[in-house]
Amino acid sequence: MDLQELYRDVILDHNKHPRNFGHLDPCDSSADGNNPLCGDRLTVTLRMQDGELGEVCFEGKGCAISTASASLMTEAVKGKTLAEIAQLHELVHHTLTDTQAPIPKELGKLAALAGVREYPARVKCASLCWHTLAAALDHLQTEGESSPASVTTE
């Protein structure tokens, strides 16, 4: 068991100095994510621009894995279309859950999260932000729904 594989420098750095941390106001959509097992909570807010994700922020409290994953995610998805984000989400999910799969090049910096797959109990920490972002994007497409979206990993 190699802790260095899990807590890589990139993860520790994004945990200590999370990027895009905060709240967009006004925003086009938002969603709350909640991982009851460890008490991680985060809110994703976003703005669209010409069919692409213009701005995205997150805030909340969580473990190093969940904070770093959210921080890395906001950097990775900015400027992407909804289809591209869904594709990336799928890639991240696959990398986190399939311990045998090679790590795809397209992941870029997100590959730093690959160490999580050796720790099944922690996969939810890394994936919470992605589920929350997906909920916010779904919400964007659902007309006439007023309450903010929320997801839970439970």
Partner: protein, 414 residues
């Protein structure tokens, strides 16, 4: 099996106790296992493992049914376990001992039977320190009946606010449902005072003894409680078996809960008559081997001596508290004057979940999270804590290993 009489408690030989627990020899990531999560579930001694094994190999059949010898042997063992539990709790009759899946099911049983008599405006009193299992069933009951759930607040030290408690009691209080020991903080609640005050106001009392049962003597007649619930697996016994003690005079007035086999006398499509106590509340085939294991676990604990074990755990608590307090940036959550061997803590701003993973890499098993006591976490304004808890087999080496692993966590998060 280790034999230590209660009078010999000063020479509690923890290495002999540890030898009774095969799992303690497991290697975790190539390291010695320091199992510090007994408050979540204790490990089983060989005598319990063997009692269950012996039952499964030689005596199993369904109980209360067959006329054949095996069924009788299984029934004798199951009912023998009930008698052992009765004796352990000093209940007046085995009719007051109902086997359940655990503490949670026992509390739900009371909420769904006794609770049916509640009227709008009736009040149920719980404490801020309850495990979710002693909150949610009452919330659900209040939603159904219009009764109100009142919560006794606590202090920053993690002790119950006794003045507030007195003020919350009223003739509307129908039930005080409180834990004997806080699972998240280790606080030992002053049960005799609480129960006496509830009695003065005519309220019934349910004691959640899940965290207390392996650490203090529980005599239901001395306590004078109406209901008491505990789980086998917190007492060195198997999971999936627990007990509800309920005063017979109350049980006789309660409607049945789950319907099915074993809880009936006769069934026809127009009318069913119900079985006598305690079987009326034990629908379906129970966890027979679990009950056998539970009785063996009680035997084991009584052989060590509850007081001797509690004394040993208290020494570990003092030693570990003192050493943890010396670690810079470490905050102990819950500093009640009277505690069992439970220490909840945070280390700087390292999230407890990260702490848990790092400690695990050093062979140290602690619980991290909200401990099924989210209101407690909210009270102390932390999302979660790490919690080390002790049992009869815990030793100084476990604490050394914990302290070393915490140093490793600080290195990683530097």
């Amino acid at each position: 099996m280790t034999v230590i009489s209660e009078t010999s408690s000063p020479v509690y030989d923890v290495s002999r106790v540890r030898a009774d627990f095969p799992i303690l020899a497991e290697r975790i990531h190539g390291k010695r296992l320091a199992f510090l999560d007994t408050a979540a579930s204790s490990q089983r001694p060989l005598s319990v493992i063997e009692a269950v094994n012996d039952y499964e190999r030689h005596h199993h059949a369904n109980i209360h049914r067959g006329v054949y010898q095996l069924s009788q042997r299984a029934t004798d063992r199951f009912e023998g376990s009930r008698e052992r539990v009765r004796e352990f709790l000093n209940a007046r009759s085995e009719r007051e001992i109902i086997f359940t899946r655990g503490t949670t099911e026992a509390i739900n049983l009371v909420a769904n039977t006794w609770g049916q008599s509640l009227k709008p405006g009736d009040e149920i009193l719980i404490t801020w320190m309850e495990h979710h299992a002693n909150i949610v069933p009452w919330q659900m009951l209040c939603e159904r009946t219009g009764a109100l759930l009142k919560v006794i607040p606590m202090t920053r030290r993690g002790e119950l606010d006794m003045d507030a408690f007195e003020q919350l009691l009223s003739p509307r209080t129908r039930l005080l449902a409180c834990t004997a020991v806080s699972n998240a903080l280790g606080t030992v609640l002053p049960l005799p005072t609480l129960i006496a005050a509830a009695r003065r106001h005519g309220a019934l009392v349910l004691v959640d003894a899940a965290q207390a049962v392996a650490h203090q003597r529980l005599d239901v007649q001395t306590l004078d409680c109406d209901f008491l619930a505990f789980s086998g697996h917190k007492l060195y016994g198997p999971t999936g078996i627990g007990v509800l003690y309920a005063r017979e005079a109350i049980l006789r007035t309660l409607p049945p809960w789950q319907g099915g086999g074993d809880m009936i006398l006769t069934v026809s499509f127009t009318k069913t008559t119900y079985n006598d106590l305690p079987y009326r509340f034990e629908a379906g085939t129970p966890n027979i081997s679990g009950a056998v294991g539970l009785a063996a676990a009680i035997d084991y604990l009584l052989t060590l001596g509850i007081e001797a074990v509690a004394h040993h755990e208290h020494q570990l608590l003092e030693h570990a508290t003192e050493r943890l307090q010396r670690i810079e940036g470490l905050t102990i959550i819950g500093e009640a004057a009277h505690k069992t061997g439970v220490i909840s803590f945070t280390l700087e701003d390292i999230h407890p979940h990260d702490l848990g993973t790092i400690l695990d890499s050093e062979g140290v098993a602690v619980r991290t999270g909200h401990h099924c006591a989210m209101p407690v976490m909210e009270f102390f304004d932390v999302p979660a804590t790490a919690r080390a808890s002790f049992g009869c087999y815990s030793c100084n080496e476990d604490i050394d290993q914990l302290i070393g692993a915490l140093g490793r966590a600080r290195e990683v998060f530097g």
